[in-house]
């Protein structure tokens, strides 16, 4: 990516005004796409002075600032205490430590990238995003709704709840993108998300309904995933291969969550 100037606003109002006034401006995340794109912008908006690098636990929630690195999330004891290894497992194979020290959770979420493993994992948590202009938006709504394009993501708020959650994926090479990713949680109800299909992760409706009505129907619910989701081809795997893998990962995840 190319840009003529970089600005570091001292408050959110200024940052949003620049973003709204200049359609060719862009908010910087971890700049992991710096050398992967030739797209030209007029102004890059760096939010580094707005204190968005934090993980805070309060009575009901865990709040993650948009500039928190994936490596910080991977190692954080607060997150691990409440959600086990769900989030660490979803980020620990992304390229290498050097990459994850720089990549930001805000960029990983706001980009709505199909290969994003963290989106697969966050979908099964009770999770909201806080934007400067649009305010609080449920995470699942943001992922499936492309209306929010020119706003500033400030933080991710995850509600603390008792229960189990876990993440599973299949990849052919340690630091490459996965062929498929699956997350399952059992808090108020069982949630199943399937991602890197290779399109963006999505929550299951039908399979989740089936397993919530009868916890013994693990195989039937897992097989329903193939009918419920579309699986595409890319250089890592064919859609048909993904269709074979998805029920296996979902079934294993459900068995562990329900055990």
């Amino acid at each position: 990516m190319r840009f003529e100037k970089i600005v570091k606003p001292k408050n959110f109002e200024t940052a949003l005004k620049i973003l709204k006034d200049d359609p060719d401006s862009v908010i910087l995340g971890g700049t992991t796409f710096l050398r992967l794109s030739d797209k030209k912008y007029s102004t890059a908006i760096d939010l580094a002075d707005l204190d968005l690098d934090y993980i805070i636990e309060n009575e009901d929630n865990i709040e993650i600032g948009a500039y928190t690195s994936l490596r910080t999330i991977e190692k954080d004891t607060i997150i691990n205490k409440h959600f086990g290894d769900l989030l660490p497992k979803a980020v620990e194979h992304i390229i290498g430590v050097q990459f994850r020290n720089n990549a930001k959770i805000g960029g990983a979420v706001f980009g709505r990238l199909g290969f994003s493993e963290i989106i697969t994992a966050l979908l099964v948590l009770d999770c909201e995003l806080q934007f400067e202009e649009n305010g609080i938006v449920p995470f699942a709504e943001f992922v499936s709704n492309w209306k929010i394009k020119r706003d500033i993501l400030k933080k991710i708020v995850i509600k603390k709840k008792p229960g189990k959650c876990l993440y599973k994926m299949l990849r052919t090479s340690d630091a490459d993108f996965p062929i498929l990713s699956v997350a399952v949680s059992n808090f108020d109800e069982i949630k199943i998300s399937v991602g890197t299909r290779p399109s963006i992760a999505k929550l299951s409706q039908e399979a989740s309904r089936m397993i919530n009505s009868d916890n013994s129907k693990i195989i039937e619910a897992s097989n329903l995933i193939v009918k419920e989701f579309t699986f595409g081809d890319d250089m890592r795997a064919s859609g048909k291969y993904r269709e074979k893998i998805a029920p296996v990962l979902v079934s294993r995840a459900l068995q562990e969550v329900l055990s």
Partner: protein
Amino acid sequence: MKVNLDINNRIYKTYIDADEALLSVLRKLGYKSVKKGCDTGACGVCSVLIDGKPTLSCQFLAARAEGHKITTVEGLGKDADEIVDAIVSEGADQCGYCGPSLVLTTYAMKKELKDPTIEKIKHYLAGNLCRCSGFEGQLRGIKRYMGVK
């Protein structure tokens, strides 16, 4: 634009482009240990330490480096020698292109991993690709440096 960069505890006042990667600026300033490899964030040969954390300089904007401590392998001094000796003693240093980044990442790993195991070492170094040694020799040397049998 003009920036002040703290590289190996020395302050450089220099001019950069707004979208210039730190890798480019470091090489212009003479830090040739920082290599340009894939230039897309995949191979790790451009790694430097930003405030002690291994970071890809090809993806890190020089404009964002102001106010942070940048360390290249030249700044490690005797700590680098110890890691290099461990790697070389296993005959693992071939073309040497990935060497500086591997040494820097190993240095950071030693500080970060409280209870190193071979699995943790391999995982930590997954972002450092070597084109010629096949990793095994490097790993033997690094295991010894980390005190892992």
